[in-house]
């Protein structure tokens, strides 16, 4: 970790999760002098459960049916994002603990299975490797799935990794590329100055030519002064971790109707999460969990995979997801030259490194490998708001 906050930097990246670290690394590789500022504490990537999501999550389809078109429009990015993780692991010569065993979404009723049939058909049309398994197939492919399940959708593109290993490796790589990482530095505000920006932090001001905001739900307040109202919100979610066991759950497991993700890391721990609520716990400094989520989430897990009932939960924690309007918020912030947003949205960890590379290409003045036009922050620009006057904004602080 760099010791003293510099007064100037070519690029400041706000946010040290998987997105910010990756962007910072790519920019440093591209020859930029990069300072990364992270508020520290538990956040999206540092409290992530390591699912590599590709198929549409039933949770989002249920909660936000109006967002399905947006979700589908970006679905082609998901398998590419998983491939990108593979490429990154090879490029860094690291071990992310990746396992590409596919993801199962299980059904308990004919209705649920029909829903999965329709979903799989749409996903296949959009290029995903999704198929429906009947119970007899499950007995062969996933014998650990309990008798309550009558069938499932198997999406071969899905998998899992160990975020502890991945985060550490990506951070080490970014540092070795020359990124100056400053932990525990909260960015209070951004304001334009000349052709660049003043980044106001708890530890002083940094002048930057370019700024990339990769601060997940924290991005919203940073972009407000520029006339943007991002439709994002912090979504604290519950996670249970069990003790180690010999490998017995291969897939990333979800449910057609109930919120759950269930998987076993290469380390043997079973991680159970997938959408049970938690509290932001802002007064405590870290998100806190709810009893209802411990009971509901863990017993749902043993309902689907009965053998987990013999495992002890050794820890619970809450991570914070950053859902958007169904797709990412990526690229130049229109009307504010030098400012970029990098918020991958739902399944942000899966999409993180790929989205980071796309935004990094924009910052470096290159054409991104994917058309990121559809993900432009412009859709959140408020018509009335104008770019704030630098002096007025600073004096208000």
């Amino acid at each position: 970790m760099a010791k003293h906050l510099p007064r100037k930097a070519e690029v400041v990246v706000v946010g040290g999760g998987v997105v910010g670290l990756s962007i910072a690394g790519f920019l440093a590789e591209g020859g930029r002098e990069v300072v990364l500022l992270d508020a520290g504490g538990p956040a999206g990537s540092t409290a992530n459960a390591g699912s590599l999501h590709v198929q549409m999550q039933s949770r989002f389809l249920r909660m936000y049916p109006e967002q399905v078109p947006a979700l589908e429009s970006g679905l082609h990015l998901y398998p590419k994002a998983v491939d990108f993780w593979h490429d990154l692991e090879r490029k860094l010569n690291a071990d992310f603990g990746m396992k590409m065993t596919g993801g199962l979404m299980v059904a308990e009723t004919e209705d649920q299975l029909d829903f999965l049939r329709r979903k799989a058909a749409r996903e296949r049309a959009l290029g995903l490797d999704s198929e429906i398994l009947e119970r007899s197939d499950l007995d062969r492919v996933a014998p650990y799935i309990g008798p309550a399940v009558i069938g499932a959708e198997l999406c071969a593109n899905e998998g899992k990794l160990n975020p502890l290993q991945a985060n550490a490796a990506i951070r080490g790589w970014a540092q070795s590329c020359g990124v100056a990482i400053h932990d525990g530095v909260h960015v209070a505000a951004l304001s334009p100055q000349g052709s660049g920006f003043i980044v106001e932090t708890g530890g002083g001001k940094v002048h930057a030519d370019q700024v990339v905001i990769a601060a997940a739900y924290g991005s919203r307040t940073l972009l407000e002064p520029f006339g943007y109202e991002l439709a994002i919100e912090a979504e604290p979610l519950h996670v249970n971790i069990t003790e180690r066991a010999a490998p017995f759950i291969g897939h990333l497991v979800q449910h057609a109707e109930r919120p759950i993700t269930l998987k076993q890391f290469a380390s043997g721990h079973v991680v159970i999460g997938g959408g049970w609520p938690a509290n932001l716990g802002s007064e405590r400094g870290f998100p806190t969990v709810e009893l209802a989520s411990i009971i509901g989430n863990a017993t749902l897990a043993q309902h689907i995979v009965p053998t987990v009932s013999n495992l002890h939960i050794i820890r619970t924690w809450a991570g914070v997801n950053t859902p958007t309007d169904g797709k990412g918020i990526l690229g130049p912030v229109e009307g504010v030259p030098g400012l970029f947003a990098a918020i991958p949205g739902d399944a942000g960890y899966t999409l993180g490194p790929l989205c980071a590379s796309l935004v990094a290409e924009c910052v470096l003045g290159k054409k991104p490998a994917e058309d990121i036009g559809p993900y432009s922050p412009a859709r959140f620009r408020t018509p009335a708001a104008a770019r704030p006057k630098a002096d007025a904004h600073l004096s208000a602080l």
């Binding site: 538990p42 540092t46 502890l164 932990d183 017995f248 411990i294 053998t307 013999n310 050794i314």
Partner: protein, 579 residues
């Protein structure tokens, strides 16, 4: 006698799994029986702890770690989880917290087999179907503090539930015999207090784990194979303490255990593990254990005390003035060591332990440097408060840098920053059983009053206040006498500091080199504190390391406290308690 009642109940372990017990197997506590360990028969007594039975038969290795190292009983009180065994289909069960039942089939934990299919309960359930109990006052922990709080609140008229993780009430200080009559005045005092609480109408729930606390005052409780919620008007937390780690090379070897673990085997089960025993640490408990084991016929190799020999007349006088009985007791322990020819090496400490063909070779460092050999090494280097539940509930704390742990803030009535939640005894600091008893009387009465019962500064409350003042003075003088010459263990870079995840000090230093600073991020980088014991030992070692290196350490800088405060089997969450 309460012990007989306990023996008649279906046997469960405190995490809440029910051990199948057919009527053919039912037997009286203390009766001889046989169990199987790793395929070989082991003689045992019904009702004694499985850890005692195994150690008594010379089985010191109970589990294998993920890296293949051997481990055995360490804390002896359900904290470290190094004594995990598999019993039948149940995995990772604490031998030290499990009572022997005839026909138990036990193997070392840590095998490679995946968990087996459960025989019961794999249903989905939600919180709203969980039973709720509404006592007036809920007391957690049935040691001296909790027992006296429960009695005091009950005498004020409140309906009192007293929950404890162990098989019998009494806690570490009053720990009761698993069978038979009390062995000495200390156990007898405990038995009388337990009887008084029962006679007064305190409902005692043994084998009960309180693993979570949620707003406003809902406690998640595993008991008799299931879960329930306890929603009292007020609650008193009396979680006690556990031994401070002494992380020297070799401290994870089987046969190295805490002083408390060896004492529990002796006091509760009349078992001595091994023949030659070396006792090392800081404080009077080590001398007490030595004197008890000598009386039991064990060969105590030496007592290694890190404080210098007692010299200060002033402190001795202050101790004698405030608690003459305790001083006499201490002198008796010392005299019994002298009579048995057991050397006491002052201003000395354990520097390293190694396994050799002839036993555990202990390098003693400090004023009386030497090398000793023993079968069992007991380490008793002070205590840490068990305040995890309080911290996880958000009770305000401060950080005691000298002691190396967070201290829960309390007002004059022992109430924490959470309204209606009281905290007493060693979980709030480390002042011993007399202070715990007095605080219990005061806090129990206050908890009943806050729950709506009229109390009127009774005689016992005034007596408790006076006792509290006197024994706090005694403790201050005691720990001046026992001021250690060395405060931190000589940890080498390859010493394991996280017993569960097998993380070395060197790995933590590397993480610091890489720029990780916060306890939470060091945990994520190294897996330090991610294991079964949930960072109870390595957390304080890390704090000391960070402080030593000039980093800011405070009550917020350790690992974030998490639920469950002890591991719980998922299966229990779907079931109601079996009673």
């Amino acid at each position: 006698m309460p012990s007989d009642k306990a023996a008649d109940r279906p046997i469960t372990d405190p995490e809440g799994s029910t051990i199948a017990l057919s009527s053919a197997n039912a037997g009286r506590a203390g009766a001889r029986t046989e169990i199987a360990f790793e395929g070989a028969p082991v003689p045992a007594r019904i009702g004694e702890s499985l850890a005692s039975a195994l150690a008594g038969a010379g089985h010191l290795v109970t589990r294998n770690t993920a890296r293949g190292s051997e481990r055995g009983v360490f804390c002896g009180m359900g904290v470290c989880r190094d004594c995990l065994v598999d019993i039948g289909e149940r995995r990772n069960i604490r031998a030290c917290m499990t009572r022997v039942e005839p026909g138990m089939v036990v193997i070392r934990a840590g095998g490679e087999s995946p968990p087996r299919q459960p025989t019961n309960g794999s249903t989905f359930r939600q919180l709203d179907s969980v039973q709720v109990d509404h006592p007036d006052v809920f007391v957690i922990g049935a040691g001296p503090a909790g027992l006296s709080a429960a009695l005091s609140a009950r005498l004020a008229g409140a309906r009192v539930l007293l929950a404890d993780e162990r098989a019998k009430p009494g806690g570490q200080y009053f720990k009761q015999s698993s069978a038979g009559a009390p062995i000495d005045a200390q156990q007898e005092e405990g038995r009388r207090l337990i009887d008084r609480a029962i006679e007064a109408g305190v409902e005692i729930w043994s084998d009960t784990l309180v693993w979570g606390g949620f707003e406003p005052l809902d406690f998640a409780v595993n008991r008799a194979g299931g879960i329930l919620v306890v929603r009292p008007r007020t609650a008193v937390y009396a979680g006690g303490a556990y031994e401070k780690p002494w992380p020297v090379p070799g401290w994870t070897l089987p046969g190295v255990m805490t002083t408390g673990a060896a004492q529990t085997m002796w006091r509760s089960d009349r078992r001595v593990a091994g023949k030659r025993i070396l006792i090392a640490g800081n404080g009077p408990l080590n001398l007490q254990l030595a004197s008890e084991l000598i009386a039991g016929g064990a060969e105590v190799v030496a007592v290694v005390e890190s404080a210098p020999p007692p010299r200060s007349f002033m402190n001795a006088a202050r101790m004698a003035l405030n608690a003459p009985g305790l001083v006499v007791q201490g002198l008796r322990y010392l005299a019994s060591c002298r009579r048995a020819g057991v050397p006491v090496y002052y201003a000395s400490h354990v520097g390293e332990i190694a396994q050799t063909a002839s036993g555990l070779k202990v390098q003693v460092a400090g004023a009386q440097e030497r090398s000793l050999v023993a079968d069992i090494v007991c380490l008793g280097y002070g205590f840490l408060p068990s305040n995890e539940l309080l911290r996880a509930m958000g009770a305000r704390c401060s950080y005691d840098s000298g002691a190396g742990h967070a201290v829960v803030e309390r007002n004059g009535e022992c109430e924490t920053s959470i309204a209606g939640l009281f905290a007493i005894g060693d979980c709030t600091g480390l002042n011993g059983a007399r202070v715990a008893l007095a605080e219990g009387t005061l806090a129990g009465e206050a908890a009943a009053r806050h729950a709506g019962f009229s109390t009127s500064g009774t005689h016992s409350v005034r007596k408790a206040s006076a006792s509290l003042r006197r024994h706090r003075r005694f403790q201050k003088a005691l720990w001046s006498v026992y001021w250690p010459s060395v405060k931190t263990a000589p940890t080498s870079d390859d010493t394991i500091i996280c017993r569960c995840e097998e993380v070395s000090r060197g790995a933590v230093l590397s993480a610091l080199e890489e720029g990780y600073r916060a306890a939470g991020s060091i945990k994520q980088r190294t897996r330090l504190g991610m294991g079964h014991c949930q960072g109870r030992y390595c957390g304080t070692i890390l704090s000391a390391l960070l402080e030593h290196r000039g980093h800011q350490v405070d009550d917020q800088s350790g690992f974030a406290p998490r639920f469950p405060v002890k591991p719980i089997p998922i299966g229990c969450l779907a079931l109601d308690p079996a009673e």
